[in-house]
Amino acid sequence: MAETPKPSAQATIEWPPAGRRQLIGQRISRLDGPAKASGRAKYSYDVNRPGMLHAKLVFSTQARARITAIDTSAAEKMPGVRAIHLILQPGAEVRWVGQEILALAAETEEQARDAARAVKISYEPLPHLVADVPPEQAGTERVQQLREQTEGDPDTGFQQADVIVEGEYGCPVITHCCLESHGQVAEWNENNLTVWASTQNVSGLAPQFAQGLQTAGISVQASQVRVLTPVMGGGFGSKFAADTWGVACAALAHKAGRPVKLMLERDQELLAAGGRPSMYARVRVGAKRDGTLTAWHSESWGTGGPATAGTPNLPYVIGAARNPLLPKRSRHTAVFTNIGPARAWRAPNHPQMCLITMCALDDLAAKLQMDPLDFFLKNLQYTERPEVYREELLKAADLIGWRQKWRPREEALRAKGPVKRGLGLSLHTWGGRGHNSNCQTTIHPDGSVEVAIGSQDLGTGTRTVIGIVAAETLGLPLEAVTVKIGSNEYPPSGASGGSTTVGGVSSATREAATNALNQLLAKVAPALGVPAEQLEARDGRIQVKGDPSRHLPWKQACARLGTTPITASGQTQASLISSGVGGVQMAEVTVDVETGIVRVEKMVAVQDCGLIIDLKTAESQCYGAMIMGICYALYEEKIMDQLTGRCLNPDMEFYKLAGIGDIGELVVHMMTGPGYDERGVIGLGEPPVISPGAALSNAVANAIGVRVPHLPLTPDRVLAALEAKGGAV
């Protein structure tokens, strides 16, 4: 997804300089806000088509088994049933509870559910492992060592260390829990298929549907598949694919000759449509008395269910620099389990790597009796962006009052009463280079403007960003621009993953709008009596540069087009975007050492992401990411039962998310201005979700004087850590 875009032929496209920007960088309300906040926005889940059937999935109740028979005879006879589609055939092996086996469609949702229950699947059970165990407990057939890497001479590094700490850190499998579950409505019109899909990949789904349907014996070309996603209810990395249920939905619609809606029920959503791999590590890390790191060693493992789920690169951020090199050795082992499949989860692997690294370093700082702020500042030379992190650390420290509030672990614990207070910090990084995106901008003779991109808005503000860039470029108010996204009939754009969207769509829009404007200026130039190069679009008019009294209002200028609109295209501009951001988060918590309950008091995020297009939605990304981070730091865990192989909490009752009362006070500071803006646009969706786990874990360790090794930081884990240490006080 993050391929490097080719430089465009027109290399002169630039962002307007700071003093000239009218919309870019302001706090602007999202364009689809009114539709969403009034309930009028139609999500895929909300699409009701005439004659539409409702489909349900039948999924595996076994963690691992061979399907010996699928008996649909009773279901076929159930009232209202119109079509059945097998996803797996008898003989297939299922590898997790929740794996899709078949789908069926009926007149009503209730009938579809009844019929799904009437399907009889026979299994031959096979041994399963759903417990999230270290490799040595998993059995050799279930582990694969993915990596052993040594850089520099860690053995010598450890010999040079004055202080060494060893510890274990990690976090379990969690799920995406998109509020709009995965799914779609499919409708055929002769040989053409329309899919209203809840997807992060509007432009990329059609070939997947064509291919999937081919396997189901239905011939359709990608060009005949229309994908529509005007709005979507959350993806977080889990919605790139057509998925078996997408193909099944289209196949059912084909069979029944009726539109079909198939949205996953909540349990299916949590069992099969999300999953962030677990990661644990035993870490050894050493430093000199003054805090300078000398060596790192880690043995990590984790499960992404049935497949490997990426190899971590440890240590994270600190130790990433080539020069100076922190001597390091790391080994990672994948454990294969029947816990369910993994999907990319916002900043894949980074929150886990961050947790392991920042917690180990925080423990080292504690052993050195150093303030972690000083310790991290001391070791910034091992990062790739020392100056940025220094600036961000100091800013965050200022915002949370670190210097006034921070106390060493023992001292924090000696505070009166059962409620102890602690501070923690963490650093993170992400790439975020824009993906390949195409944009078409059309200026109509009546002055109206359309911008079309085959992208999608996950709630990040993509639609608004496109509108802002087009309006800025054309010198128009935001309302004057109609943004068209959420359809693969618009120019193709990359999937929205890896924080690649904003760079792609903003730079492509900048080019397309500039090209369209240049055509308009050429048409208007004779009327104003100057060459087109001397004209500019500003404040709703076309005017002579340096002499705004000579101008044409926008509408009059566009009227010169006669009857033919101008249309121009643009694509991702390497010169307008960049990659690589830093970020610092600090957390202040209170911990009741008698109950083990952790409360977030305050969190601060300081984040850079180059040139910010919309400060309001950028800040929202950071607030949201911190809250998502609080969720996985304190509450989230896919809880499995080894005996039955079941997931015990595929619901929103015991799969816990933070509520509005659990988040404390959140502060966001975006790094902008000189040194940041000129880097161009960089994505922001992932980075701020990386640090919260580590920052909160470190704050809890600071409050209670001992590390709680694993997330989430639940009362049982907190009390166990305190007990292992020998009690609260």
Binding site: E110, T595, L634, L648, D716
Partner: protein, 328 residues
């Protein structure tokens, strides 16, 4: 949800006539906040659902000669808004502990007392006693982090989910139950039972009976009482342990005490020895801590819920201290 017949009787008598004498055939719909989920998960699959909402006599709070009568269909929100109940912080704190306004608007007092346990094995279809097809008990070997630490000698390991059970028992409440042969009354403490066999319920209600009223004895309003709940999240979260206490004080000393724990046993758990410990003594922080210790002395934690012993201990201590200081 399996299809069912539906009835909406206007009178208690009519309602009783619609109920089956066998569990599983008919279900009573009050607030519905538990029943609908149970039916959606196919944990219960009644042939008929009898909606009590149109029976006016089941609603509301009234002062009577025997005390305060709370109709079973009174919603949690109505309870919170009734000033006469302000004397019972034990109950009010528990009602506030139902943190979703939507659930407070829908859920009823009777529904709270009759709701089924949240045990995830039960809700996943393994039965109230949570056994698999081979008869293996799933809870002791499985994930029992939210299960019972008391009253779990077997075969029941779930915890009572009732919010109002513990405070109402601490306050000495009675319940009135209507059945085909008239009404009966019993102390609420006897309403909750620990099932011994699969198929038995965790309450003393018979399938063709309706819980109609809760009666708070007049004397209860003289008691210093409150509830302390330990809950991980602020909202939309079940407590991990609660303690409801009611104290009769005289001359600075505890004359009589009642301590009832919630979410730690298959029934609201009366810590009688802990209560007895307080009698005749001045309630100090040390004494409260001792009572907390005594309340969990018999606890038998399972593999993953030892932390709940500590939570129950602390809940008792904190509830006692809060009550002694004058309520919530």
């Amino acid at each position: 949800m399996q299809a069912f017949e539906y009835a909406e009787p206007k009178t208690l008598k009519e309602a009783l006539g619609l109920l089956s004498a066998r569990w599983g055939e008919t279900e009573i719909l009050a607030g519905g906040t538990d029943l609908l989920s149970l039916m959606k998960n196919y944990v219960v699959t009644p042939k008929r659902v009898v909606n009590l909402k149109s029976i006016a006599e089941l609603r509301g709070v009234a002062e009577t000669s025997e005390g305060l009568r709370i109709g079973a269909l009174t919603t949690v929100q109505e309870l919170l808004e009734d000033r006469r109940l302000a004397r019972f912080p034990a109950l009010i704190v528990a009602a506030q502990g139902i943190t979703s306004p939507q659930i407070r608007n829908m859920g009823t007092v009777g529904g709270d007392l009759c709701q089924r346990p949240r045990c995830w094995y039960f809700r996943n279809g393994f039965g109230l006693l949570a056994r698999d097809a081979q008869g293996r008990a799933l809870v002791p070997e499985g994930d029992n982090r939210y299960h019972a630490i008391l009253g779990n000698d077997g075969p029941a390991y779930f915890v009572s989910a009732s919010s109002f059970g513990p405070p109402l028992i601490a306050l000495g409440a009675q319940v009135r139950i209507a059945g085909p042969n008239g009404t009966r009354e019993m102390p609420l403490s006897e309403f909750f039972v620990i099932p011994k066999n699969e198929g038995e319920r965790e309450i003393a209600l018979r399938p063709n009976e309706i819980l109609t009223d809760v009666i708070l004895p007049a004397a209860a309003s003289e008691l210093r009482n409150t509830t302390y709940e330990v809950r991980q999240r602020e909202f939309l979260d079940w407590p991990l342990a609660t303690a409801s206490v009611a104290l009769e004080l005289g001359e600075g000393k505890v004359r009589r005490a009642s301590i009832v724990l919630g979410h730690v046993a298959p029934v609201p758990w009366q810590a009688r020895a802990a209560a007895a410990l307080l009698e005749g003594k001045v309630l100090t922080e040390d004494l409260a801590a001792q009572a907390g210790e005594q309340a969990v002395a018999a606890a038998k934690p399972l593999s993953k819920n030892r932390y709940k012993v500590q939570l129950a201990r602390v809940a008792v201590k904190r509830a006692l201290l809060a009550a002694a200081q004058g309520g919530a």
